[in-house]
């Protein structure tokens, strides 16, 4: 499964319904993620991609769009 599809899977498991943001759409401004769903999203990414997000990376800006998240998890997983 491609990285973007796996990220969408995590998002959908949090939202409980299908979401399909464009690569550069803000997940915050679109209402897909609020502050507390974001904590679940980061935890879900850690599980899905087998990565550990260190405290130094706990900035909402890193997780604002699909494109940013894909770049982040790709870099962490490599």
């Amino acid at each position: 499964m491609e990285t973007e599809a796996r990220i969408l899977k995590v998002l959908q498991s949090i939202k409980g319904n299908p979401v399909n943001p464009t690569p550069d759409e803000s997940l915050f401004e679109s209402g897909i993620l609020d502050s507390f769903a974001l904590t679940d999203f980061v935890a879900g990414l850690e599980d899905e991609f087998g990565i550990s997000v260190p405290d130094s990376d706990l900035s909402a800006r890193k997780f604002e769009t699909l494109r940013k998240v894909a770049a982040y998890v790709t870099a962490k997983a490599s």
């Binding site: 502050s35 507390f36 904590t39 405290d55 706990l58 900035s59 800006r61």
Partner: protein
């Protein structure tokens, strides 16, 4: 060994409901409640000052302790919202208590300042004598009550709390504390140019990880588990965050004292206001550990453990 001897607090009488605030910030009152767990908060009057609120909390604490101001060895005042940076409210509160030579120091840290004060007081009291820790805030002067400032305006309120830390006697002994600072994330929460600036989502991400970790680390080094704690007294930042911390610790939410619904987030005052309300409702001798924890600007965070005497 230092002890928690008494708490005190002062809340200004003016109540600001979500309905009133919603009109100013252009938000739905139901959304404010859902996003924060806050139903109303208190705002100070125009003539009030941070030192004035702090003085009233200090007097309430001394009354509850049956102590006199002259007994104090030191005063520590935490505030991130004082009108003046230097000198801050500590010296004014000391003067208000009639003290002209007792050391009175400011801790200019929003949200986590009272926890820092308690931790310092537990170490200083054996040398200095009783230390009065005060958290006093008028956050309503640091927020933007317009649609642009909605995300912070809905959260904050005004108030003050106090705790007398005694070197010898009290209802619980302070066994240990853990403080931490990470300035690499300083920009996510700051008071700059007299305005609170907050990246709320980043703050929640950081707090959600750091508070449970600090609590677990503190408990582990004292051979305790989260389930052993009788009550958790947390900085009242956001009800959703407190719920997440409880879930992270795998502890029922009813172990957490919560009053954010009525006062909002009063920054560094909130921990001591919550402690005072909890203690007023539980005057019997304590039989289980108490854990305090806070997270705030700096970023600073930590936890403090008090045990039955």
């Amino acid at each position: 060994m230092s002890c928690l001897r008494a708490f005190g607090s002062h809340l200004p009488p003016r109540r600001v409901t979500n309905q009133e605030l919603a009109t100013l910030v252009g938000a739905d009152p139901a959304w404010i409640l859902e996003a924060s767990g806050i139903e109303e908060r208190r705002y100070a009057a125009d003539e009030d000052t941070v030192a004035g609120l702090g003085l009233l909390a200090a007097q309430d604490c001394l009354k509850n302790a049956g102590a006199a101001a002259a007994d104090l060895g030191m005063i520590l005042v935490a505030s991130g919202s004082s009108e003046r940076f230097c000198p801050g409210p500590a010296s004014l509160i000391a003067a208000g208590l009639g003290l002209a030579s007792t050391p009175a120091l400011d801790i200019p840290v929003a949200s986590c300042g009272s926890l820092i004060g308690l931790s310092l007081a537990s170490r200083l009291a054996p040398q200095c004598g009783p230390v009065l820790v005060i958290g006093a805030e008028m956050m309503s002067r640091r927020i933007d009550r317009t649609p642009e400032g909605k995300d912070t305006a809905i959260l904050f309120g005004d108030g003050a709390g106090a705790c007398l830390v005694d070197p010898q006697s009290g209802f619980a002994r302070i066994a240990d504390s853990l403080l931490a600072t990470d300035g690499t994330a300083a920009e996510i929460l700051k008071v700059e140019h007299r305005r609170l600036v907050m990246e709320g989502k980043s703050v929640i991400l950081q707090a959600y990880r750091k508070m449970p970790r600090a609590i677990n680390d503190l408990l582990a080094r004292n051979t305790l588990a989260a389930a052993d704690v009788g009550v958790y007294l947390l900085h009242q930042a956001n009800l959703n965050l407190i719920e997440r911390v409880a879930a992270g610790l795998k502890v029922p939410l009813d172990r957490f004292f919560i009053n954010i619904t009525r006062y909002g987030n009063t920054s560094s005052a909130s921990l001591l206001i919550a402690a005072d309300e909890w203690r007023r409702a539980h005057l019997e001798p304590i039989t289980a550990p108490i854990v305090f924890s806070a997270f705030g600007a700096g970023i600073n965070w930590g936890a403090l453990l008090a045990l039955p005497v």
